[in-house]
Symmetry: C2
DNA sequence: CCGCAATATCTAGCTTCCTCATCATGAGGA
DNA sequence: TCCTCATGATGAGGAAGCTAGATATTGCGG
């Protein structure tokens, strides 16, 4: 597993590294946004609607957020009750609903974006653009690789004596 | 915010990118470990004890995992009931307890490490070592920057008319 | 026109993981 | 001894995810 070479060792840390970055990054952003009663799932929802062009259906949004329908329903319920999001009937499919931001949501999203930009600036301060670009391209690639459902469920031979109970 | 340049646009995506990678990565690993009844919080706990040298107190572990005491107590309760972790009284402080892995836990940890290595190999397949190393060094730096509690809570002047309700 | 599968959303129920407030006990200094 | 802080446990509760099943709508085949 760890063969001693610096790259291998750091690779071994990569998973934990990314997980911790994601967690602390979000925590820091949450800290500054929490006063509006928003949590990660909620502001991610708002931002995604804002970026996606405000006419997407719930199914579209769920797909973008990588969550299931029922999970999204509750988040939207909250956002709608809060007067931030509107559910309208979709023009050509009465089953579906399109999502829109209220006037009240727009300044809020501005604040979220501002906070996000601030946090990002703090975090990335002093890192050369070239390094950053390289890192981003790797991450994009990783994300793409992760987007496909699953490569192959390995056979998993049991040779260490452990039994799942 | 978005000025149109490719770097700026991708930078803007960086937070979401890392969050999604972390999430999907964990989901993929969870899939393969779930059969042992383990969840993220639980195997992270095991791995951290294993790496940390098996004598740490609960407080130490909580600090490493970035969670609060009560959260850890429950996870440890489960792990202890499962016979994977032992709580022993600390030698010089009867309030504290030191954490140790049982013999049953060791092969399980091996399996977790194996699964983690497999997932990592899938995810990083085809990415040149040099790019990866560059990316890792940026991430290490980001993680370090995030480790310090908080740079400065900004004054946050309200000029957009939004009120927190 | 009618039946039926697929689709979009919602409801209900469950699990995991986290938090805060509070408590019992032990440690350590005045 | 007494007071204060530290460690871990417990209770209550919230956020957010899932699956399964219900309901309404769409659109196709006969």
């Amino acid at each position: 597993m760890r063969d001693g070479s610096p790259l291998a060792h750091t690779q071994w840390r990569l998973g934990i590294l990314i997980a911790q970055i994601a967690r602390r990054w979000r925590a820091r952003l949450d800290q500054r946004i929490a006063e509006y009663g928003l949590t990660e799932a909620r502001w991610l929802c708002l931002l995604t609607i804002s970026r996606g062009g405000e006419g997407m259906t719930q199914k579209d949004l769920a797909a973008r957020l990588l969550i299931e329908g029922p999970t999204l329903v509750r988040t939207l319920d909250w956002l709608e009750a809060e007067g931030l999001v509107l559910r309208r009937e979709a023009p050509h499919d009465r089953r579906a609903k399109t999502l829109h931001l209220s006037a009240k949501a727009r300044p809020l999203i501005q604040r979220i974006e501002t906070a996000a930009t601030g946090v990002r600036a703090e975090i990335l301060a002093g890192i050369p653009d070239a390094d950053l670009a390289a890192c981003l391209s790797v991450l994009e690639r990783v994300a793409t690789g992760l987007a496909v459902p699953a490569p192959a469920p390995p056979p998993e031979e049991a040779s260490d004596g452990y039994r799942p109970a």
